[in-house]
Symmetry: C2
């Protein structure tokens, strides 16, 4: 069956997370976790579900961009798309008129991600095997045929990519079994959002420790003395053997990042995340160099807007942890390129997640990374945030601080129809109530 | 008078330039030069006009983004804005929810440019002097107060910026008089779009030479043999003493750029423009290094999305010509930062123009650069394209291949009401006719 796409629907779904300061950090003080949520309808009745994550205001702009891309999708069959997936990726990202709005960055690329995430979901569901998405990307030749190597061949050619993937076939089955049994290691960001009180922070740490968490991330960057107090508090709570990461969400300039983080070295953070502008490759390189003697790495990626930027972060030794995002890059296609480049440079991948749907999506990518690319768990872990999973038909399963491989068909970002209806902005019940307040 | 902004209107204006292949290049084969056109209404009756340039499809997305920013603008007085212009710039670019869509890149930043361009227009018109925009930015302290130095202080601090501007006060009056008399040197891109036939190309070159043009840019990158033929033809037409530039509009990967341009070295181009991805700082650095022995520089900037990227291009010696754009960056505010950084690195600025309204806008920035920053004309020239000027109330004036300083009040991008009405998409007469065809 060809599964011709006959319609593309997109909806503006927003959760009022800012009311309780969930997700608050030094630059995003009041996020309402939201999504541009895409549904592809096919002539076979099969559907594909995709989304891109946003923070509330402006989601309608992403919807507008998704609608602008719809004409390139509707009328195509799934078979047509996946038989030349690289070509389809380029069709969406290189339209002669629309690429001016990016290219491959910002709103138009977030929209591309939403659409392509839905295509990958559809593909996984349509496969004879009717399986979880991460199992769709296991054949080396198929994988490289999905990647647009434009602008990255100076670092990774198609031949090199194929070579990496073919070599990683060895031991694949064992790693898959291992994942099914143990799951993929996770860390939690749920304990220490910037807007939380010390009391809240202590309680959440204590609960998390009881649930088996050993890796914790703390938001910093608004006030140095406050950061020192909060980080000491958490380090004390979690003990010296647990892992602590800190995240500044782009708050600093280069020199300030170095001096501020140096002051926090006493709590022994594994990494400082997003110390400065996500565009500043050379700045991150300077920070990496300055912090290396303190044993602190630099992590970034959730706002790294495409493979060309990741390429340079790797070339410049500007990060020690690659934080891919399932909705910022051009879906699986572009993330595959980044995973392979990270492998080539031997830099561990520790995905960004949280928000709404990011955990559900990115678990597939990191499982793929372990099973089919890196075969390595050292210094690797996937972010986890304990919010909004209840709105998905196949929410992530966390056991003993590990992501358990998803078993349901698809890419795990189908939302409950009722959740979408209630949270649709501005006409859903939740927002009608908020607006009335 | 405070000039309180009481309304912001934005319109989708498109010109069907693709019908005659104007503007065609290796990556944008069928552009319809377009704009998101902003009008600010104030309680005093004074208006501000701004725009951002687009290529047709997707302009509606930029409109949507402008509307999302409108709430941050309406209700503010001009006085309130310009008394803390840095703060207002940051208000638009750092909204806690909307910055996720950038930050400072793509659709949301194009929208910021359109809005801020209108504010600058309004400001110039409102000044007691009621003068051309470039005259609004002459006081050093006022200038630095408009710039957001976030993320660039490792290269340029506020103090250094002020120092540069104060030193350049010397000779300012002579340079202004010189500009009023001679104008600013320009080059033409109108002769050699990729879609033009050889016959058309010869005719246009011949006409341009007669009008006094001595600097010419040719589009390349689609087919090497074709490029060699076209470049030889033009070099023959313009003679050895005229200046020739070539422009690939991001067509190549790094290695390909080096080999392709090396083949074109025989026609002695001054620069190769946009050889690869606009995001690839390290790639441009590699290309610069490889082409330096051939005497060919690298130029880029029309899709360089913010000051953080320009900072790195300068730090990495990745360009030899800085091509600022009046609509890609956050208006005058962000361009001021780039002009000052370029001065610090002693790299000449040669603005991108053309499209619709870009010449009208950018002439102000380059006049400012000469009069108040660089005081230097060596290796400097501003792009000119001979299209669509007739739609503006104060179109650019070119004399003997020089931009003559604009004399009308404002930032020169007010369009004729009739032009806007006829070209509004999709309901204007021009588009109704096209759609009926």
């Amino acid at each position: 069956m060809s599964h011709k796409i006959v319609n593309l629907r997109v909806r503006d779904v927003r959760f009022p997370t800012s009311l309780e300061q969930h997700g608050s950090d030094a630059m995003h003080t009041d996020p309402d976790y939201s999504a541009a949520y895409v549904v592809l309808d096919t002539d076979s009745g099969l559907k594909g579900f995709g989304l891109t994550f946003t923070l509330g205001k402006g989601t309608e702009i992403v919807l507008c961009a998704v609608k602008a891309l719809a004409g390139l999708v509707i009328g195509k069959s799934l078979q047509e798309i996946v038989s030349n997936f690289r070509g389809f990726y380029r069709l969406l990202t290189s339209d002669g008129q629309m690429r001016w709005l990016g290219p491959e960055k910002g709103v138009i690329h977030l929209a591309t991600a939403a659409v392509l995430n839905a295509v990958w979901d559809l593909w996984a569901r349509a496969e004879g095997k009717y399986h979880a998405m991460y199992l769709s990307i296991q054949d080396p030749k198929q994988i490289v045929s999905c990647i647009d190597f434009r602008y990255i061949t100076d670092v990774l050619t198609e031949e090199e990519a194929l070579d990496i993937l073919v070599k990683a076939q060895e031991g694949k089955k064992q790693r898959e079994d291992q994942m099914l049994k143990e799951g993929y290691p996770a860390y939690t960001t749920s304990c220490a959002w910037l807007g939380y009180s010390d009391q809240q922070l202590k309680q959440l740490c204590s609960d998390a420790l009881k649930s088996g968490w050993t890796r914790f991330k703390v938001k910093v960057g608004a006030d140095l003395e406050d950061d020192i107090r909060r980080c000491r508090l958490i380090r004390k709570m979690i003990g010296p053997s647990s892992t602590l990461m800190i995240d500044a969400n782009q708050r600093w300039d280069v020199a300030e990042a170095i001096s501020w983080v140096s002051r926090l070295a006493e709590v022994k953070p594994l990494w400082i995340e997003e110390p400065t502008s996500p565009d500043d490759i050379l700045g991150h390189a300077a920070i990496s160099k300055a912090l290396a003697p303190l044993g602190i790495g630099v992590a970034t990626g959730e706002q790294c807007h495409n493979r060309v930027m990741f390429k340079q972060f790797l070339q410049a030794s500007a990060l020690q942890f690659v934080q891919i995002d399932s909705c910022r890059l051009g879906s699986v296609n572009e993330n595959l390129a980044v995973l392979l480049m990270a492998y080539k440079f031997q830099v561990p991948v520790c995905p960004h997640a949280g928000g709404v749907g990011l955990c559900e999506l990115v678990q597939h990518l990191i499982l793929f990374d372990y099973i089919c690319v890196s075969a390595d768990l050292r210094n690797r872990m996937c972010e986890y945030v304990d919010h909004l999973h209840e709105h998905f038909t196949s929410p992530v399963v966390i056991q003993d601080a590990h992501y358990m491989p998803p078993k349901d068909p698809g890419y795990s970002c189908e939302m409950l129809e009722e959740s979408v209806n209630r949270h649709e902005y501005p006409e859903g019940d939740i927002w009608k109530q908020e607006i009335q307040k």
